[in-house]
Amino acid sequence: MISDFIERIRNEKWPITVFFVFFLSLLVSKLFLTENYMLSPFIYSNF
């Protein structure tokens, strides 16, 4: 069944398009989106 699915993905364009749009948007976020947000400043989180 999995080989059928892989064959189907190869023949259809939309799964690849979804992947690229998703991946590229997160890549842009990773490379260019900076933030100063900090979590609540706990003194120490361990013993």
Binding site: M1, I2, F5, R8, I9, P15, V18, F19, F22, F23, L26, L27, S29, K30, L31, L33, E35, Y37, M38, L39, S40, P41, F42, I43, Y44, S45, N46, F47
Partner: protein, 383 residues
Amino acid sequence: MRKIVYLFFVLCCVLLITEIGLQIVHLVIHYGEKKEFIDERFALPHYKDKEWAKELDKELSELSGDYKEYRGWGKKEYHGKYLNIDRNGIRKTWSPPDLNSEAAKTLYVFGPSSIWGVGVRDDHTVPSYISKELHKKNYKFKVSNYGEWSYTFTQGLIYLILQLRDGHRPDYVAFFDGIDTYNSYQSGVAGTLHFSFAFREKGEKQTDFQLISTGISNVITKNSMIYRELSKIRRKLNPPKTQFTEVGHAFNDDQLSKLSEDVVEYLFESVALLDNLSKIYGFEYIFFWPPSLLTENRLLDEEINLDIRLKDKSLVKLYRLTDDLLKTGRAPHFYNIADTFSERTKTYYLDFGHTSEEGNELIAKRMVSIFENEYLLEGATDK
């Protein structure tokens, strides 16, 4: 049905390949990157040109702690160049080389990490400077550092009780507070431990399914690049109203005022307990309320961005309200030394509560001067 399974398969493939791709990008971008210090406070000017800073930073990062009966947590044994903890979890304190331990009086110092000495070497903690100062004044004292990270006054008191139970009989006991206000702010209730909500959550009964789902969600939130980036985008689109998540942050003025009163009341009920213990076990005690960047009336330029907590107006307000309530002598042997650095021209702070080696020396000098007047000088209550 087959179509749904196919869509699910495509979704899994997209997520998996995206996650792997982002992890690879992350590795490539950060390859070979090395932070100069593990604890970023070591980048402060206090440590400039101090060749020991890097080693102390490393040693501090290697420390670990574990569960301790009745008092919660404590440090494990550790031996380094600048940081040493014995097998009982007690940090090394400077002692005069020729001290006759049998003849010397004993002084146990209790308090949070500021007494334990975060960011300073063994010989430069507040208890070490107290020991040096007493030695300079020709008093024979063996000073011990019973400070522990994030300990409240009452937690320190329990620590003392455990020492008394084990047969210790100190001549003098000094308490130094500082974290009670913050811990109470964290949970919104006076008299609570640091991270008390985490202990409460751990104690709540969870089904096996809840445990599994908590585990999976922890793995995802801590490791997934997809989760991290989606969270970043979400916060950009819908910025959180505040970056502070402590319960007390949402309190109004009346609630903060009530909390500060509760903090002080809880504290002095514990002091009454200490007072009774001192009579039964025959020791003298003294209690100090410490300086904090949050209660300073004047901030130096270099201090404005020293600690993100300074931007939390509710926390600053709570600290000031509590400090105001403690301006006057609330009890015998209680001293507010919050103004120790009020005339400073350079900073002695590492963050809102921890102080540099120089700062510790000034605090210790003030403590010894008060201690001497109270107990050691001619005409004092105990000579």
